[in-house]
């Protein structure tokens, strides 16, 4: 068990991040913090991908030798995913600004209630 924790700590970190992100999304009433929660959740997944690409004793992915090398594909994928994540955050924050303008609050519970009154 200790052994697993010692050698696979990055997986632990991944699931810690996923947990923190999920909790923030559900447990936090502030919608900005909810958005941050989504970001942390995604970061967990990014870490998972990058970690999976790591190989013991590998070289950087520049093919000069026959030696084993780090898989470059996950890096590229995550680069794309980060771009997607950034645009999502932008849209989300845009919506938050509009909601704040409209209702003057960022509290999720109040917002759902206001909605129900409409």
């Amino acid at each position: 068990m200790i052994d697993v924790i010692a050698t696979r700590y990055y997986y632990l970190a991944t699931f810690l991040l996923l947990g923190v992100g999920t909790y923030m999304m559900i447990g936090n009433r502030n919608i900005v913090k909810k958005v941050i929660g989504v970001n942390i959740f995604q970061t967990g997944i990014f870490l998972f991908f990058i970690a999976s690409a790591y190989l013991e004793g590998a070289n950087p992915p520049v093919l000069t030798t026959e030696a084993p090398h780090v898989s470059p594909l996950p890096h590229v994928l995550i680069l794309t995913a980060i771009v997607v994540g950034v645009s999502l955050t932008a849209v989300a924050l845009g919506l938050v600004v509009r909601i704040y303008d409209e209702y003057g609050t960022l509290d999720a519970d109040t917002l759902w209630e206001v909605r129900a009154d409409e």
């Binding site: 999920t22 999304m25 919608i31 909810k34 958005v35 989504v38 959740f41 995604q42 997944i45 998972f48 991908f49 999976s52 898989s71 594909l73 996950p74 994928l77 794309t80 995913a81 997607v84 645009s87 999502l88 849209v91 989300a92 919506l95 938050v96 509009r98 909601i99 409209e102 209702y103 917002l111 759902w112 206001v114 909605r115 409409e118």
Partner: protein, 510 residues
């Protein structure tokens, strides 16, 4: 000549950029741009669908990188169907949106981006590419949902965004597991390598679980549907028509693609539990969605919950792993898109013409707005599954598949879903045709006496609750009536279609 394939994605993207740029020159110039782009898109989609259905699968390798390293675009019978649907529905909704819809250029830019995302999702042959298009679709969908006036649509969009992102992220996570197991992301490649790795290994099972749950969130299957009713109900009428017809539909397509092309039926055979869970999710969704729909007072929310139930039917067809049921799921996917999109647009038309948005507002609608009430009635009955409308044919195929595989519980739920659907639509039909207009709305009727059908009508009861009714254009009527006619007429075309798509389905199931 397979170079045509990338154009299916490129055309709407270019249109999207053009719409934004045109807005710099002249405001409200987005609509013509969108129509041109959408019309070209329909042409491309039609040609691709023709080739895929009559000549066999069309493949294209992006940038000349060889499969499995590069990204592949594939159009087979399955994707051709959904591609055609996306193209036609998005053009149809544009005709509706000219007068009804949001008119800003950024809206049309997002609209075309949504179409591009849906198209990409449909024709991609690469799992990570699918994730990217899933997110593009999602992003554009959040934006168009938020394009309504007031704060309600923004709140709904944010909620949609939060839950939708989790869904897409879970998809990404599952994809990561599959990648770790195999080292490839090409769908065809994944299928063979996952089988080699072993379908019963925990890694592959976890990958399946994450990917499927992620997609079920996007499809809005009970109990993962919580974003959906509010997103449909709060968005502008044209938008709810579009997204109800396409977004979940294409996500369901993605589910079929992932389950059958990537994980293959052998995976389901090796993991009966996965198959059973899909079946249970389907049955629960059908029942719970219908029950929730009955409880709604707002028409658009009711329609939204009805979608939850109808996608249950589609998932049921997917979970049966049977050729007939699969064709049924496809037919119902297309049929539901036409019917539900039509219903939302009709609901929008009714709201524009009379201000009626709740179930009670619909009382006596047949007198006030005969065309709208009739279209709504026809679409509702088609949805209930009255033969020979397309709603019946899809259900027939799925039910037949359920009997063939001897899944009796599912058969009972599918056949019984007719009654459940009837439960919520009968309320409306009865109110529209067999009740008098309430007195307050009768005043509006009087005020309308000397005006045309399309002319303004004063708000039914209390202008502060209902938005001021606007103009109903000929385009809106045309789209709504076309949807109703299609819903009935498509039923007759299903057999020819089934024959065309059969080779694809057979190859999916083998």
């Amino acid at each position: 000549m397979s170079d045509l394939v990338p154009f299916a994605v490129a055309v709407p993207i270019v249109g999207s950029v053009l719409a934004l740029l045109a807005g710099l020159v002249r405001s409200k110039s987005g609509w013509p741009v969108a129509v041109v782009a959408s019309a070209v898109h329909v042409g491309v989609a039609a040609e691709l669908a023709r080739r895929a259905l009559f000549e066999g699968t069309v493949r294209y390798v992006v940038g000349g990188f060889e499969v499995p390293y590069g990204i592949e675009l594939v159009v087979d019978g399955l994707s051709a169907t959904v591609l055609g649907l996306v193209a036609v529905v998005s053009l149809g909704v544009l005709a509706y949106a000219r007068v009804a819809g949001p008119r800003s250029n950024p809206f049309y830019a997002a609209y075309l981006l949504l179409v591009a995302g849906l198209t990409g999702l449909t024709i991609t042959g690469d799992l990570f590419n699918m994730y990217v298009f899933l997110e593009i679709t999602g992003l554009a969908a959040y934006v168009v949902v938020a394009s309504g006036d007031g704060g309600r649509s923004a709140v709904a969009a944010l909620r949609y965004l939060l839950i939708g992102t989790v869904g897409a992220s879970l998809f990404l996570l599952g994809l990561g597991y599959a990648y770790i197991a195999t080292g490839t992301l090409n769908m065809g490649d994944l299928a063979t390598l996952l089988a080699e790795y072993g379908h019963t290994t925990t890694l592959v099972q976890t990958a399946f679980a994450f990917v499927v749950v992620g997609l079920l969130i996007k499809i809005a299957v009970f109990p993962l549907h919580t974003w959906q009713p509010e997103a449909y109900a709060a968005s502008p009428d044209s938008v709810s028509g579009l997204i109800s017809a396409l977004v979940s539909t294409v996500s369901a397509y993605a589910l079929i693609r992932v389950v059958y092309t990537v994980f293959t039926p052998e995976f389901l055979a090796a993991n009966p539990l996965a198959r059973d869970l899909l079946g249970v999710a389907a049955a629960v969704s059908i029942v719970a969605g219908s029950v929730l729909a009955v409880a709604q007072t707002e028409v658009k929310r009711m329609l939204a919950y009805s979608s939850v139930a109808q996608y249950g039917l589609v998932i049921a067809g997917v979970s049966l792993v049977n050729e007939t049921a699969m064709i049924g799921a496809l037919v119902h996917l297309v049929g539901h898109a036409i019917m539900k999109g039509g219903l939302f647009l009709t609901a929008g038309l009714v709201a524009t013409a009379t201000g009626a948005r709740t179930v009670d507002d619909y009382e006596g609608l047949a007198e006030r707005l005969p065309a709208g009430a009739t279209a709504f009635g026809v679409l509702a009955l088609a949805m209930v599954g009255i033969p020979p409308a397309v709603g019946f044919v899809g259900k027939w195929y799925i039910a037949l598949g359920a009997v063939e595989t001897e899944s009796w519980v599912l058969t009972a739920v599918i056949v019984g879903s007719t009654l459940l659907t009837l439960a919520y639509f009968a309320r409306l039909v009865e109110r529209m045709f067999f009740r008098e207009t309430p007195v307050a709305a009768g005043d509006a009727e009087a005020a309308r006496d000397d005006a045309d059908v399309g002319a303004d009508v004063t708000a039914a009861d209390g202008g502060d609750r209902l938005p001021a009714p606007g103009t109903v254009s000929l385009g809106m009527y045309a789209v709504v009536v076309a949807a109703a006619a299609l819903a009935v007429a498509l039923g007759a075309a299903v057999f020819e279609y089934a024959a065309l798509v059969e080779p694809t389905v057979t190859s999916l199931l083998s």
